[in-house]
Symmetry: C2
Subunit: 244 residues, 2 copies
């Protein structure tokens, strides 16, 4: 943030702010692809980028951070978007969908970089763990936002958590399909909408949060038969209590 308020370009031998960062990241990914993550030391990366090892750790906090840049910034954007979405009376579900699309489109813009990262995270265990951890940070953000929305009463907790998990899962599902090249960018954005509908239950027979009052739960599974046809089976199932 200190470099943004310097309007003039840097015509000197001193590299522009952020340029070193880019060189380092490029060198890192190149080396990772070539010899693998573990076989590449931070010293190698720094040398390839023509800078000192110290500079690497100043630009990125750790070796892993080269691969997951701007993660915290993106998370913050999602958080602020959700915050405005979950104020009482706001169109919460739309806000959630928008926040989620924010994330997806971020990866879409990264393009090959995101795919290279995906290749690495599938191979190296520590990186996969790191990515999973960041996934659960999203879960937290959504959960907290939804909790603020649904209220804090007992029982709502689990509901908020389930919804958050569903949203994150839906997003990751679509993202992975794009990363694997199953769908293109436009298709992914479209699929995200459908996936969210399925995750949140806002689709055909939307089953959004049911009021917390006590009562009988009825789960309707679509079946070609009508009620009377399945009723005997239902009675039988209730009788021996061990549905199979």
């Amino acid at each position: 943030m200190p470099a943004s308020n310097r309007p003039t370009s840097r015509p000197t031998s001193r590299p522009g702010a952020g340029e070193v960062r880019d060189r380092l990241r490029a060198a890192a990914f190149a080396l990772f692809e070539e010899r693998g993550y573990d076989a590449t030391t931070v010293g190698d990366i720094a040398e390839a980028a023509g800078v000192g090892r110290t500079t690497f750790f100043r630009a990125f906090g750790s070796k892993e951070d080269v691969i997951f840049p701007e993660h915290t910034a993106l998370l913050e954007r999602v958080r602020s978007r959700l915050e405005t979405a979950t104020t009482p009376g706001a169109a919460t579900l739309i806000g959630i969908a928008e926040a989620t699309r924010l994330v997806l489109e971020h990866y879409l813009q990264e393009g090959d970089l995101a795919r290279a990262r995906y290749r690495l995270t599938r191979t190296v265990t520590t990186l996969r763990d790191r990515e999973l951890a960041s996934t659960l940070q999203y879960h937290r953000v959504y959960r907290d936002a939804l909790r603020a929305w649904t209220g804090e009463e007992a029982g709502r907790d689990l509901r908020a958590e389930l919804l958050a998990a569903a949203v994150v899962t839906a997003h990751n599902h679509v993202l992975r399909r794009w990363l694997r090249g199953v769908v293109d960018g436009a298709g992914a954005v479209e699929e995200l909408g459908l996936a969210l509908e399925e995750a949140l239950g806002t689709g055909p027979n939307g089953a959004l949060p049911r009021p917390a009052d006590e009562g009988t739960s009825i789960v309707v599974l679509r079946t070609p038969y009508d009620v009377d046809a399945v009723l005997p089976a239902l009675r039988r199932a209730l009788a021996d209590d061990a549905p199979r």
Copy 2:
């Protein structure tokens, strides 16, 4: 596994197999509580346990592994339980519930150890990440099992994933309540059942996957009412197809 087939006790100065492991774990947790995780080196732990540093790494693969023991073993038990549960014709939902209870009860048996771990994982970031990663391993196991059950056709993928996320989320929700002392062991087991019902039943429409072949599925959620009492509600739900 090499120690189990030695029937006689070890009367010598050589400690029994596994005893060193226990000493190390006890020393580790004591030091972690005392000075914190980061401020405790592996050398400190080994010294406190009266063994060499090398022995520590032989007993546990890494510093983190002291805190997460038997994780892989437990994961394997869940996997095998799910495997038998998702063979065609088996009582899948019950199998899932049982597998999940397996995990919960494992932690309940750990008792204070699990709670000490919880305290640590809340404080130290790397440990939290590690735990989250293990959480997502469970997600994978459930997802794969459910995928095998629902079939691989397009569209089922997301459904299996959503279900897996819901189950894991429900479990973690209950587990956290026990870890925080909100409920006791018996209460946690009971809550798990309810949470699973909520996770599997109230989520997205038809969250319970239809079997791959056509037919009528009957899902029975325990309710204090008998069939005739809920029948009107059932008819109504089927009639307008879009409850609330």
